[in-house]
Symmetry: C2
Subunit: 326 residues, 2 copies
Amino acid sequence: MVKIFEDYKEVYERVKKGVNKTPVMTSRTLNSLVGDAKVYIKCENFQRTGSFKFRGAWNALNCLTDEKKNRGIIAHSSGNHAQAVALAATSLGIKAIIVMPENAPKVKKEATNRYGAEIVISGNDPLDREKLADELVQDKGYTLVHPHDNKNVYLGAGTAAYELIKEVGQLDMLLVPVGGGGLLSGSSIAAKGLCPDIKIIAVEPKNADDAFRSFYDKQLYPSINPQTIADGLRTSLGKNTFKVILEKVDKIITVTEDQIVDAMQFYWERMKLVVEPSGAVSLAGLLYNDEISPWTKGAKIGVIISGGNIDLSEFFTLIRKKLPKN
Amino acid sequence: MVKIFEDYKEVYERVKKGVNKTPVMTSRTLNSLVGDAKVYIKCENFQRTGSFKFRGAWNALNCLTDEKKNRGIIAHSSGNHAQAVALAATSLGIKAIIVMPENAPKVKKEATNRYGAEIVISGNDPLDREKLADELVQDKGYTLVHPHDNKNVYLGAGTAAYELIKEVGQLDMLLVPVGGGGLLSGSSIAAKGLCPDIKIIAVEPKNADDAFRSFYDKQLYPSINPQTIADGLRTSLGKNTFKVILEKVDKIITVTEDQIVDAMQFYWERMKLVVEPSGAVSLAGLLYNDEISPWTKGAKIGVIISGGNIDLSEFFTLIRKKLPKN
């Protein structure tokens, strides 16, 4: 894997031309809650399109040959990857098709549309999406941009960790949410390359613990209809991301649904950050999982927020109902 | 007023030892909405205690004589000033009494308590608070720290604008919310000192337009029971802040309740920033008031978010109700 790390500077040079350098936030209260640690929060909720996914999409599209760029690309997603691919493609003048399920939230369809992609509607089963995308790849020659199990996508995602460590220096520990494993595998490669002694801790909802079980059994289990508020972490690991994770990750821990919301509330109320449930999972692990608390005292700890895309329409409807008349 | 500006560097040197240097955020979407302007958002929601008020409290307490520090200080507030004074006093080892009305929200009492102040409960009428505070000043020799009509408080508040301009350079326009006028008067002095040609635009809820009317009639009108969601902007201007405002401010514009919520929603959804209604008023002015739109094209514009303290308990109760079981 040394070769992969040596490539990282090159990856970052390519990525930084398009992505936001996101801020690193700190909180005195948080530091004191975690054994006088120094906690550095990498805020990918401030990334373009509202999640780290833009890093991977940008990197992967830039790595395509001109011929593939000219033919156009395709992605299937009902979430953050859709918006990321749509905007990256538009910015680079590449035609983008996004396959979305019929029941995808209107707000996500609108955002994908706003970023300039063409939406193709599939059936609601995840397999319907993949099948339709595969057919369009066959028929039209589009290139599929997988949400995580693609080396250029996950290396791009990992520039979040690369950028964090370049800014704040050596870290003792890095906590990363895990769903499909793109952010986790890229971040592990980047972080272990820069800080060989760092502990990489993946955090997963207990209700979607396929990565946890796969990691400790060393056998890839699929995620089957998991019930978690962390909608970005419901997917299965990829074959490629799983290999990287087995090699680079030190521990996978799980958190309950309540802990995810508690961490989210800490971000919103105490740090004034809009973070989506999936994005708050890494902090939930740091705050509430006893397995890692022996390691935190006085440590320098990185925590990645993966994104901030959450539907706020219900909340704002409530606020508007109570407004005084003008 | 030149003398006051010359002091500003000194004010900032004192303030920066205690306050957070808050981030400046930008948004490509926002820039394109405002005639290809460059908009720089100064995020005082990330200030300690969640609002710009900490700047003024820190500056004022540091300017007290040792004798006054030893006797202790008092403030009356049900909002952001209470928390700011409480934390500044605790950090400096000064005893702090905060007079709060009986009906102040529990969450605000708790926060003030957490920051280490002693709370004294008054009646619910604003005059009750002031009367009780005055009595304690007489009886105990405490020094009153007024929320805005105190030179060291408003000069401290203005370091938000000073810091913004020092970071991003000359600005053509600065938009600031106005309630009691502390943030506005300090920011005007700092900004006009650094950029003599800058236009200072104060923004006020239409439903609490006492500053608007006072400014154009050149006569100080009190704010009488205004009905606005922007709870931080319900107070009257001070005598001293009004004088500065008459001299330094170029225009006061008003925004409707709906416009305030629309701007807030833009911050939350598009910029992932938790901003309270009062804090979103300046952006509402930029986005929705036709009077200033002729000036925005291609301009460099500063917008101050005053704070991010909003009660989210109802929102999180909603979220928790829908959680899957673990």
